[in-house]
Symmetry: D2
Subunit: 412 residues, 4 copies
């Protein structure tokens, strides 16, 4: 180890600022350096004495060689480290969809790019994309949309990231570190808090996106989701073919994927109802038309149409049909979802692993995110995939939505 | 295989009666014979032509030798097969806790023993025990309680078992085969049905046992369980040390195992509250005394004391303390639970793997049993361990109990 | 109930044949009639006396009205009931993708259609599709591929389904009813049996499809999957973008989604390696080209290219990139998977809910299917969605594949 | 908030020392103060400049009143804060099992008590107990063992706790923060590391405790556990009645709880084998006697007896029988387990929630702890219950043990 340290001759100075100690930004930086077998020396640490004070740290980072140091700086920058102030560097994309080798890859935190000595906030930020400079504006783009000749940010000069800090406010449900997925949480209190937060957003004409899977229909919580739409708590709905088909099937036949809505009894021929529901919608052309013609008279999709809540139905390879409005090209579907993401105030993900992770991938870190699933793997996976801001609740969405509606009604 | 069959020369005749085809008793009998590599010949099959009719089958079972045939008959008898009518045979237990080699081991179905040419129903039936004949009465006893000289039933003559048949009634939640543990069930309808069933039992002055684990307190569903007690829906409570301590801790400090009841925040020192709660009860001697002296003024245990609902707190090796009323000897605790089991109308198991499986082991098959847990392994395990009558619901008990109370209130 | 029965005046005669009692076909038929509140009378039941004998039942089914009877017959037909022999009826599809109202919806069992007094086996059978008659041939088609003017089978006349029967052979792992998802199974014996079965298929130049998710790479089981390909045990690979990217990322950087392959340590910047891997493949055009040019030198995809094992990479909305060969249109991806399905001998599904269920939807019931996942919900869901033939194993694919390779090597 | 701070007039000075920044001790201290609505001022922060340097912080903590400050100090002390050096204070236990009101409750970290101006390390430390001073020695005792007149430590003066710091060594599997329970980990690398660590312990004549549940037998991993014993990798075995009975049942009948060890087939009568196995052991008196007389010739328990590996079989309320050597009083069983805990080098917990959590409760934080379970709830629960040092692995123990044995054999 000592030997290893001796060899560290390449170095760079970085700065950290904010609640870097108690928001564990500084510890994470030191941890990362040690994990990556780099070295550091703290030049100065000016610690906020009181809890509202800001701290500042300056330190020298040392790597084994330039490549190693680059990796270290890459990592530290993602954690909020600021490098000596320089303008951003770009290289030109050699072909469509091809990035320059040293492209900068984004986090989902607020990101600033220094162009002509001014920090500009990158637009449409989302994780695992790249930043393109157009007319002195920085725009976050997914790889597939980068065109030949685009000026793509490379290296780590002139980029600043602001990871979220620990809330200074008295505690709220989004203020904690929610690192685990235990079902042993005061779920009944969380619902009260969540209802208040949602109510506040509605008061402010904010925007709540709900991501829902078909278990919502199976469990009978579709009535509650329809009510949420009616009450004005859903501004956009993300789902898949299954959600819409089962909702429509239930309105037409009282079953979901052939399962009786009261008894849970599944008949073999029940699957047919699923197919008939799809056929009925194809006959009239769209869900909207089915509502207009009075074919569907209730349910989640009905309320969305009635309340003019836009919905994005993204296709998947396990789809039957699918319905006419389902977007079968997955990248098109993603881009359609992107249209609603950036100004969202809250996202509630429930009973869908696929759509929840997909939405999580698109979300900036400042959007309040709640993921409710009975499957702890969904919540874990969401966090493994980087949606670290999500409040993960392991509970039964089929019970959660009815209870949530109950709490929201108390606030009317 | 053909050869194997040739060798089957030992045989016995059995009879099956009832809704043996659609209650899949006959198929299970044929399956078992084939699984065990025995052979059969159907002598007669008199099939009920209409759905209310009874069917009867007579068949010859053949085994490779006497031991093989014995095993076959053992298995078939458990499935409801009746052997040629003979009186029961017994052997004397050679020492305390030692059974004769060929002891009969019980199922949890109604069981009749033929003594002096009369069928007597065995008392206190429970699975995996033995039957002792005392004064021409048949009593089900666990191995550990068998005394030297007890006349223990051996072999399979003179014993008749009545496995449950498929309900002929229009469907109710206990009528289905609930073989799987999917969370994709109409939980919101199940709750309505369960509430009705519970209400019916209360009307008839029946008996409901609730088995609860500490997650009930963590999730905030303790208020609902307390309310169930108050409403008269709990006649006996089974739990462990943790349930009682956390309930008391919450009344005294607003935390459960140190977790704040509103925020879910866990402090290191929080565990201390757990220990203080135990100490407080030891200081006054018992939960009952703590209620009497006004130290505990609310909660699950408070309501049990106030409403004179008996509780059994069974110890486990992970206990802190434990509280004075916890029974630390596990066999004593089992026997205490046994006192409340036989005349129960319903058992609701929630959020406890240990206590649910333990209770399941003691339950006769005619007791309506519901198991609600967020962990699918609990429900699966319960069925793996033979509590096949249990309606297994994979849902969040923390939401389930509040919703259940809501439904029950509609019936008041 | 008695009244209800009085009203049943519409009736039809059906026949059941085969091991209908112990394969629980008859019980399921009687069950379904009672669940659906129909009525029946058994006209004759000729029971096979010995275990190799065939049984035959003839019965009258009664419904409340024609619609009710139709639903009953629909259901019973799916369970294997044969209606009085008539030729099949068809109606013409009014428009592309629009089915006639009474279209017949398929099961995944062998299905025969009676055309001009001859039973013809339907081609390309798969569940939840429809049957089109072309030039006296019956072809199973998904709704989306039905064209205006196609002659679509309607009603239930002239269709015969053969649900699988219980194996008469001594037991093998595919012979049992695997209804539950318990992890308490003799997994180490299952692996031995599975290895033998796979070896047998390879001997017979059969076809094994492996469906794999990215956890295979995370857990380090990618080495084992690559070895399976090399050993000749994989004839087709189904996966998604993530599987291929992580496999390639690991070859290039020793990480999977930024997680170190040895330590499990995840760096923030690690996700970048994921994007770089995608970029590298875009630079050369395809995985095949990357292998050819020596950019990828090991791993799952490398072995597939080297051993000329075809792969289908189906896109999903959570994809980064995706890679050039990923099919982003989900219905196109499904149809590409269909090309490999019908003559498969075995499908091994592992560590992917999405791709496993999608594959399950396409599989005929006679294909030996094994699903291994650590998440019991995956196995449950697969069975909820109708892939009832699947042997569901709740285990860790990351350990399962290495153990499987070990067992297969013993058979070399 | 500002107002709240004005009211904070009671204060105390504390000190923190060590790798307090990157081991996140300081951040956790600041977090805790804010969570508990206290206030702080940092007096000095002397930061280690290089990664091997030590940091020191001194700060003033302010509370609303004495009780609030006490709670704050309690919490901070558990996190490693040192209060101004004073001698410890004690009060006398008023009765057996009754603690003085302000008793100090222990963590599972190394703990020092200042007696007559000397720091003495507390003996037998374990979480959630109390410290009794006997003859100037500090002994950790569970509440139930405290006797009237014992001098019990109260308050927080004169107590110092040393929470574990982040390892400075290059990474090993026990060095990481293992906060999540994802199955997406490089399990195949972990096994290699674990095998090395175990081998090292065996070289040093160290002590490994294995905690095992009955699924080990069901899955066929019993052979591997028996081999671990034989290879000298198990110095103590903790389990329950079920583990021993199923192991014995398998040796006698080839089944575990009636499930065939090869096919997984469960017969109704199979449960009887379980009871017969218990009866057989009662007939000879103990497992040891059964081995001596040649009744048991293989298996886990056999190897333990042969290799003189002590075992503790702790009873639970779901036990059948139980076997003669099972300790039915849970507190006695705990105390028996305690005898083996303090000098353990490693504990491997596998396939048992009950016994794992119970063992976790007893473990000092410096014991290397690995928990392997297929049920993520077990791993989560273990950490919820405070066994934060445990490396939690969500995998199938039935596969894990065979793979572990394989790796260990490579090191022979």
């Amino acid at each position: 180890m000592e030997n290893a340290e001796c060899k560290m001759t390449v170095s760079e100075e970085i700065e950290l600022k904010g609640h870097i100690i108690d928001s564990i930004i500084l510890p994470r930086v030191l941890d990362a350096i040690m994990d990556m077998e780099g070295d550091f020396e703290i030049l100065s640490l000016d610690v906020g004495k009181k809890k509202t004070d800001i701290s500042t740290a300056r330190m020298v980072i040392r790597g084994k060689d330039h490549e190693h140091l680059d990796k270290l700086l890459d990592e530290l920058q993602m954690l909020g480290a600021v490098l000596p102030v320089k303008n951003v560097e770009t290289e030109v994309a050699p072909r469509d969809k091809i990035l320059p080798d040293k492209f900068y890859s984004t986090t989902h935190h607020p990101t600033y790019v220094r162009i002509k000595d001014r920090w500009m906030r990158a637009k449409d930020i989302e994780m695992d994309c790249t930043i393109v400079i157009e007319d002195e504006r920085a725009i976050c783009k997914r790889q597939g949309l980068v065109k030949k000749g685009d000026r793509v940010v490379v290296g780590h000069s002139g980029v600043r990231v602001e990871p979220p800090e620990r809330s200074r406010k008295p505690m709220d449900i989004f203020g904690f570190m929610q690192s685990d997925v235990s079902p042993e949480k005061p779920i009944n209190s969380y619902i009260v808090d969540l209802a208040k937060e949602m109510n506040q957003i509605r008061e402010n004409n904010g925007k709540i996106i709900v991501v829902a899977g078909p278990a919502i229909v199976h469990t009978g919580a579709d009535k509650s989701l329809a009510e949420l739409v009616r009450m004005g708590y859903v501004q956009v709905l993300f789902g898949g073919n299954a959600l819409a088909v089962m909702d429509i099937e239930k309105q037409l036949f009282g079953t979901s994927l052939g399962m009786d809505e009261h008894t849970g009894l599944v008949l073999e021929r029940g699957y047919k109802s699923h197919l008939v529901a799809i056929n009925e919608i194809w006959k009239v052309g769209s869900i909207k038309d089915a509502v207009k013609r009075g074919i569907i008279k209730e349910g989640i999709m009905y309320e969305c149409v009635k309340c003019e809540v836009p919905y994005v139905l993204a296709g998947s390879i396990r789809d039957d049909g699918p319905l006419p409005e389902v977007i079968t090209d997955v990248m098109e579907a993603q881009d359609e979802m992107r249209k609603y993401i950036q100004d969202a105030d809250m996202v509630i993900m429930t009973a869908s692993m696929l759509h929840s992770i997909a939405t999580g991938n698109l979300l900036p870190s400042w959007v309040k995110t709640v993921s409710i699933d009975i499957n702890p793997y969904v919540v874990t996976r969401l966090q493994d995939r980087g949606t670290s801001q999500a409040l993960g609740i392991v509970s039964d969405p089929g019970m959660f939505l009815p209870r949530l509606v109950e709490e929201l009604k108390k606030l009317e």
